[in-house]
């Protein structure tokens, strides 16, 4: 098993594109090392991307924020201004695993692990984040909702890596939130996750919204019907009911040991409403 830690994107892309056998990108390793240990994967080449500066930095860009794919959850939590602009994204990232896992786990890894239950992904999708990719044909941007196609299946081509995420500028009176349901209080995998981002006008009416649901389909969903259900409202009871109905309709979950189809569908509706109410409160305070 070969290990490489290139210091340039070009170097990383060339290594991955030229790999003969199975190649894996290493960011925080909290999924990859577990999968290697369990013999789920046995890569011939591991490309550690943490020495590439763009993957490890958080910077302001065009009024928004660029977050490196290999920035850890613990680092995001300590970034006061990012947390103020995107509390939902940061809280979602901070729900992944323990303090120890937070010291290593990354947004890029959470997305590229390809789990529909990934906690940070609904928050990133609700935020309207763009994944910035680098590959043999150069750079391109993909909306985060288009990166994952299904469990363990990504839209990345051979040699392509997620380098960073761009979160858009925040208008006044905007905020976001993320909630998940797990049967315990800490360290578990989402049975359902809900991310909501919204903006208000001066009168408190929702002018823009994005709603995303995790663990209720083969991929994390961007539910535009749920956003439409609350845009133009002040999230009154009628709008909350429409939001719940839209969330319910969008769900295509599986039955498994963590939740039945019926339970997941119900929880998706409830979490969508609660998450939207938190985002609304935060937006009012901004």
């Amino acid at each position: 098993m070969r290990y490489e830690a290139p210091e340039s994107l070009e170097g990383a892309v060339a290594l991955l594109a030229g790999a003969k056998g199975e190649a894996r990108v290493l960011a925080g390793g909290t999924d990859l090392l577990v999968q290697m240990r369990a013999d789920v994967v046995d890569p011939e080449l591991i490309v550690d991307i943490k020495k590439i500066p763009e993957t490890r930095t958080v910077t302001e860009e065009k009024g928004g924020w660029r977050i490196g794919a290999a920035v850890t959850g613990a680092e995001l939590k300590e970034h006061t201004r990012l947390k103020q602009a995107w509390p939902g994204v940061v809280e979602a990232a901070n729900l992944i695993g323990s303090t120890q896992v937070q010291g290593r786990a990354t947004l890029g890894g959470n997305l590229c692990n390809g789990s529909p239950a990934a906690d940070s992904v609904p928050a990133l999708i609700a935020a309207g984040a763009l994944a910035s990719l680098a590959g043999p044909k150069g750079r391109r941007d993909l909306p985060v909702e288009d990166v994952m196609l299904g469990p363990r299946k990504l839209a990345l081509t051979k040699g392509e890596i997620v380098v960073s995420f761009l979160l858009p500028p925040r208008p006044a009176r905007s905020s976001d939130a993320y909630l998940r349901f797990i049967p315990r209080t800490e360290m578990d995998i989402a049975v359902v996750g809900a991310g909501v981002s919204l903006s208000l006008d001066a009168g408190g009416t929702i002018t823009a919204a994005r709603v995303s649901l995790g663990a209720v389909a083969a991929r994390v969903l961007l539910v535009s019907e749920a956003a439409q259900a609350i845009i133009g409202s002040r999230l009154d009871k009628a709008a909350q009911d429409r939001l719940e109905a839209a969330a319910r309709t969008a769900c295509r979950p599986i039955d498994d040991k963590r939740g039945t189809i019926e339970f997941r569908t119900d929880v998706a509706a409830v979490l969508s409403r609660r998450t939207a109410l938190i985002a609304l409160d935060r937006a009012r305070a901004n």
Partner: protein
Amino acid sequence: MAKHHIEATVNGDPAEFLCETEDTLLDVLRDTLDLTGSKEGCSSGDCGACSVMLDGRLVCSCLVLGCEVGGRKIETIEGLAKGESLHPLQRRFLEAAALQCGICTPGFLVASKALLEKNANPSEHEVRFWLAGNLCRCTGYDKIVTAVMDTAAAMRKG
């Protein structure tokens, strides 16, 4: 393929070792550097028995590759005591019987020290959340949490 030749700092001293790509930092610490204080519980990042500090950040050494740590600073349980003098957390764990079989204890101590360096006055809630990634099958946690809170209080008094 040839082994990786890695130079790092372990508990303040330079350390040099050879490892295979698939060797974890925990494998290297225990099997190559003879630092067997860090324990292998689950090897999947769930139990925290292998907790160490990597460049000042609390991590599970079972989820770090040995070949990743070149040039980096690692602190293990072996670095907690200064010679014969135990760290206040170690003393308090002994006095309060905050351990039984002891397998989880090195991880709890490393994690608790990391917490107190970040937050000298944690609430019980904060202690429990911070230590949620350290599993103990003996104590029921209460004595551990109390020992951490008591140590924090004593250290604040100086």
